[in-house]
């Protein structure tokens, strides 16, 4: 079942490629929409059948390269199932948004279908090599999306930077995985087995180096300060759909790697370096927010808020590794908050990036200063963006608050100073979103010079459906979060138990 969910998009991708090229562009997009919808429906079926206290479920284990200890092992638990669902939903939203795409639609659709399989595969993978393969393939897929459908020549440079930077990170990750493999007896790459045996317990420096390698690899992907500088150009020059997937799904691969691999497989080392991780998190929070505040480009600003939002996650998992001063409730709250933040950020920032795509489509620029009073021309667009911005600044009623409240409350006990500093992040984020809203949407109407007022249309239905549906889910999580937290909480308690070993 899980493998069907994972590989369905790839199958459709292959079928579309093999089909004669006679299909109209829209047929490809609709094929994609149907595939994404079916995949989402399948995940909902999985969700309904999921027992939140049952640990790892829907497992499937097939021999692949037994000589090297590599197997095809997939499964979902409370950490990965929400991310799998988020992936399917985001790809569906992006597919709907892409109804207006006209440039080389066939390869575009196939590339995104490929990316969906890769993303789903990563979240269900329970084997380090399988994880690594999907991790690297995601970089490849996104490279082509940015280079092929981004904004001109700069996009190719940004894509190259993105590829080289994150690829280098993935090499560090591979090094760490091999370190784990060599330490395990018998040698294996299986995550479940490695979690059980804790092969690096008491291996001081060696374990530290393995965590360093894995940590750097994941930190590049997440990204945390100081490994984040590939992100702003990649986002700024990527197409809106690429940005939404990059921020919504690909960044989660890094944070998910922390809770799936780094924490349970290296518990002692994680606890030992928890303070370092917390500090990196706090710096990402404040630094990301401050740099975002100084941006003059709307999309670049949102990109930097991603650094800020990912920082909260790193702070929480760092605090969850600090046993002193905190009880299990606080630490589990922090991890639940971190996982909720992954979902929340995917929904809200995904919507914000899609909306920034609308902005570019209408005005051909992301410069905040080029617009003023857009609400007069595009009231619906302004309203949806305002809602998304407030969701992004963590207003209660949306998922961001549910995530951040848990993170702060759960982290304060063990990392009081760091958390107190990090809390200011939500104030700076509020300032930057309000500033952007005021400058672009409110005040006296003024458009970029090249654009005539008559040419500016309000949110079209495909754009509205895609962004509003994401925000609606963020609202649902924000108002009645239990259906999501019921799934995440047992899993985060399990992670806490593993880290405290």
């Amino acid at each position: 079942m899980l493998s069907i969910v994972t590989f369905l998009p790839l199958l459709v991708c292959a079928a579309l490629l093999l089909w004669p090229r006679t299909l109209p562009d829209l047929a490809y997009t609709w094929a994609w929409i149907v595939t994404a919808a079916v995949d989402l429906a399948l995940v909902i079926v999985l969700w309904v059948g999921f027992d939140s206290h049952g640990g790892m479920q829907y497992e499937q284990r097939v021999r692949w390269i037994p000589g090297a200890g590599v197997g095809y092992h997939v499964g979902v638990d409370g950490l990965s199932l929400p991310l799998v669902a988020l992936t399917c939903l985001l790809f569906l939203a992006v597919a709907v948004y892409s109804l207006r795409e006209t440039r080389r639609v066939r390869p575009y659709v196939c590339l995104f279908l490929f990316l969906q399989t890769v993303s789903l595969g990563l979240f269900v993978a329970l084997d380090l090599i399988l994880f690594f393969v999907f991790f690297d393939l995601s970089i490849v897929g996104m490279f082509f999306v940015i280079a092929g459908w981004g904004h001109g020549e700069r996009a190719r440079a940004a894509a190259l930077k993105f590829f080289l930077y994150t690829f280098t990170g993935s090499l560090a990750l591979l090094l760490g995985f091999i370190g784990l493999y060599l330490a395990a007896d018998p040698h294996t790459f299986d995550i479940v087995d490695l979690t059980r045996t804790d092969p690096l317990a008491g291996r001081g420096l060696y374990a530290g180096l393995v965590l360093l390698a894995i940590g750097v690899g994941l930190a590049v992907k997440t990204p945390t300060v100081p490994f984040h500088t590939w992100l702003p150009p990649a986002h700024t020059d990527a197409p809106a759909t690429g940005s939404a997937i990059l921020a919504g799904v690909l960044l989660k691969m890094g944070t998910y790697g922390f809770v799936r691999i780094a924490m349970p497989l290296l518990p002692g080392t994680w606890r030992h370096y928890a303070l370092v991780i917390t500090i990196i998190g706090v710096v990402s929070v404040v630094y990301g927010a401050l740099v975002a505040l100084a941006q003059t480009d709307f999309k670049r600003m949102i990109a930097y808020t991603s650094v800020n939002h990912m920082g909260y996650i790193v702070l929480a998992i760092g605090a969850a590794g600090t046993l002193a001063g905190s009880d299990a409730q606080a630490r589990s709250l922090a991890v639940t908050g971190a996982v909720t933040q992954m979902i929340s950020h995917g929904l809200i920032t995904g919507a914000l990036f899609l909306l920034s795509g609308v902005l570019y489509d209408r005005g051909q620029t992301y410069a905040i200063g080029a617009y003023s009073g857009l609400a007069a021309h595009t009231p619906r667009f302004a309203a949806v963006t305002a809602v998304a911005a407030f969701a992004g600044l963590g207003i209660p009623g949306f998922s961001g608050f549910i995530a951040e409240f848990q993170i702060f409350t759960g982290s304060l006990a063990s990392q009081a100073i760091a958390t107190a500093i990090a809390v200011t992040g939500i104030l700076i984020t509020a300032a930057l979103f309000l500033r952007a809203l005021r400058a672009m949407f409110l005040g006296a109407p003024r458009l970029p010079q090249a654009i005539s007022a008559a040419g500016v249309t309000d949110l079209r239905s495909s754009e509205a459906i895609s962004s509003v549906s994401l925000l609606a889910l963020a609202l649902a999580i924000g108002v009645v979060p239990r259906w999501l937290l019921d799934v995440i909480e047992p899993a985060s308690r399990a992670v806490i138990g593993l880290v405290a070993r």
Binding site: L290, A376, F405
Partner: protein
């Protein structure tokens, strides 16, 4: 039972969300729908005040979303719902169909709904949620006229200031959990373990002072005036600003157990009551005057919370809510009709529109603390609690009461002047006036004025005992008769003095800088700008440059180094490895050329070579042996 409570909050929030998202599409029906929803909410509020429902639902691990109506909440929900109903009924007559009425009424209901959740919350997470939603909706309401830059900027200032203070509640939640209160129940907070107890208290106090526009956060309230008058009327009376005072009244046990927090809060309240009163006196804009007076009057509630005067603070809150809502609505009616809210331009406004004028006058005299109106009695309750605690607080409070008479009389004096001859000259300076007060505004204004006048009965011995029982504060000090007399005398004397000053129209003998400072709200906003905003923006810009040049610069440098290394490797490869291969080949070729030399094909040369060879061999053999 709990259904009632869920309905109480779901009705305004749900209808508000629907109206808000429908926007202009429901422009025609929005006022009726909004007012009806508010009226229904009032009914539910009264019902829940009587039946005292409780409700809760799981929220986070170990923390529930708890709601309950106890004595204090009962008073609050009825006050909030009643004021909201009055304000929305007024708005229905005020707002033309050119406005986006769906959005406005929707947001107003959301705003009031958030306040209802705030005052019924029994756990910190729910309280914080409602607290912040209230802030966000206030942003949208203050910035209702979004096409003008000034209201929007003011909305930003208001939201960011209150959110800065709200961070205290986030920290308080974490500290409570760290201090062993896993449920985050409000009534359990005083049991937090010791070092964390102080963090919880400090966080709560900071958030409350910020929301209630106490010093040093007061300036956001001045900014909040840029919104439509109904917003001011609701925001300044029963919602938003009083949320902080409510929280302090609710968490009074927390203030008591820490020792330092009670006096701190009391002094903060007293200082605000006095200083912001002075600010109010200096204002020339009616809405600004009322805004500063709100801060000052809430200072009395905060003072009461700090000194344990729960019933007194609650009475003050309710009486002030009715008074201030009425005053703002009257100011709003004039603003709509005359297009100005400048006091000199409003001369004679009360004579021109006598009904509005009468209601305003009742409100102003109540605000002045004149006997027997409500704020006179409620303020004495506050002062009695303060005197029981600390005489210094009592004296400052009394001084603040005197100041409140001065600013109220100032407003009343202007609007009751005879209409000047060139009256139209001062009009329409802020917006085009309609020269017409809608008939629909009469009912809400009258109701609020009546309430303002008579709510003082809550301070009479009988009702006061009932209220104290309701709030579970039976041993609160009641004002002694001489105290009532003193405060009445102070209010009457300062009101009389103020009137005489005005009548003589001589400049008040005060230092000019003081007047300017008071008119500028003690330069609080400028200070916040200089101390916080500007350094932060500077830091942000510097970090952005640092990010581009240093962090990303290092990455680019590494890439450049890699390219340079590649070039060196290329040179090594071409000039080293490949050159060596070439050299070997060339050497072999040269050796071959050398080897070909002896092969001449001439036999005698071969013989000669052989002879030399043998000779050499013989020589070697001989030498070796």
């Amino acid at each position: 039972m709990s259904v009632l409570l869920w309905l109480l909050i779901a009705l305004p929030l749900g209808v508000g969300a629907l109206l808000g998202s429908a926007g202009t599409r429901v422009n025609r029906s929005a006022p009726a729908l909004g007012t009806a929803a508010a009226l229904a909410t009032l009914g539910l509020a009264v019902a829940s005040a009587v039946t005292r429902p409780r409700a809760s639902a799981p929220l986070f691990a170990g923390m529930r979303a708890g709601l309950a109506v106890d004595g204090l909440s009962a008073v609050m929900v009825v006050t909030v719902a009643a004021i909201t109903t009055a304000v929305l009924a007024f708005t229905a007559g005020e707002f033309s169909t050119k406005e986006n009425r769906g959005r406005f009424f929707g947001l107003m209901l959301l705003f009031a709904g958030a306040m209802l959740v705030t005052v019924t919350a029994t756990t910190l997470p729910v309280l914080l949620m409602a607290w912040e939603v209230m802030g966000a909706t206030s942003w949208a309401l203050i910035g209702h006229w979004w096409s003008r830059s000034e209201p929007v900027r003011s909305a930003d200032v208001a939201f960011l200031t209150t959110r800065a203070a709200d961070l205290g509640l986030y920290l308080a939640a974490g500290a409570a959990l760290a201090g062993g209160i896993g449920s985050l129940r409000l009534d359990a907070l005083p049991r937090t373990a010791s070092p964390w107890l102080h963090v919880v208290t400090a966080g709560v106090v900071a958030a409350a002072l910020g929301k209630s526009a106490q010093l040093p956060f007061s300036f956001w309230l001045s900014r909040a005036m840029r919104g439509p008058s109904p917003v001011s009327a609701l925001l300044h009376s029963a919602t938003m600003v009083v949320a902080g005072a409510y929280l302090l009244l609710r968490l009074h046990p927390l203030l008591t157990v820490t020792g330092w927090a009670g006096p701190f809060v009391a002094w903060a309240g007293a200082a605000t009551a006095l200083l912001l009163g002075v600010v109010a006196v200096a204002q020339r804009d009616l809405k600004q005057l009322l805004a500063a007076s709100t801060s000052a009057q809430i200072g009395f509630m905060v003072l009461a919370a700090g000194t344990g005067g729960i019933a007194a603070g609650t009475t003050q809150l309710v009486a002030h809510a009715a008074t201030k809502a009425g005053l703002f609505l009257a100011a709003g009616a004039w603003l709509t009709a005359l297009g100005t809210k400048q006091l000199p331009a409003l001369r004679g406004a009360a004579r021109r529109y006598p009904l509005v004028g009468a209601c305003f006058l009742i409100g102003a005299l109540t605000l002045a603390g004149l006997p027997p109106l409500s704020l006179w009695a409620s303020k004495d309750g506050v002062l009695a609690a303060a005197r029981a605690d600390n005489t210094g607080l009592y004296v400052v409070g009394l001084a603040a009461a005197a100041v409140s008479a001065v600013y109220s009389v100032k407003a009343a004096w202007y609007v009751t002047r005879p209409l000047p001859d060139e009256v139209e000259a001062g009009y329409d300076t802020e917006q085009p006036g309609t020269r017409h007060v809608s008939r629909a505004v009469a009912a809400p204004l009258c109701v609020l004025a009546m309430a303002a006048a008579v709510l003082g009965v809550l301070s009479l011995p009988g009702p006061a005992a009932w209220l104290k029982g309701l709030l579970a504060a039976p041993h609160e000090p009641a004002p002694a008769p001489w105290e009532l007399g003193v405060s009445a005398a102070v209010a009457l004397a300062s009101a009389g003095l103020a009137w005489r000053w005005r009548a003589r129209s001589r400049p008040v003998p005060v230092w000019h800088a003081v007047v300017r400072g008071a008119r500028q709200w003690l330069y609080l906003e400028r200070a916040a700008h200089v101390v916080v905003v500007r350094p932060l923006l500077g830091l942000a810009r510097a970090l952005a440059v640092f990010d581009d040049r240093v962090v990303d610069g290092a990455v680019r440098q590494i890439a450049r180094c890699a390219l340079a290394a590649a070039r060196i490797a290329q040179r090594l490869d071409d000039g080293g490895v490949d050159a060596a291969v070439h050299a070997v080949a060339a050497g072999a070729r040269n050796l071959g050329r050398l080897a070909r030399r002896p092969q001449t094909g001439l036999l005698h040369q071969y013989y000669a070579q052989a002879a030399v060879g043998f000779a050499a061999l013989t020589l070697i053999v001989l030498l070796v042996r």
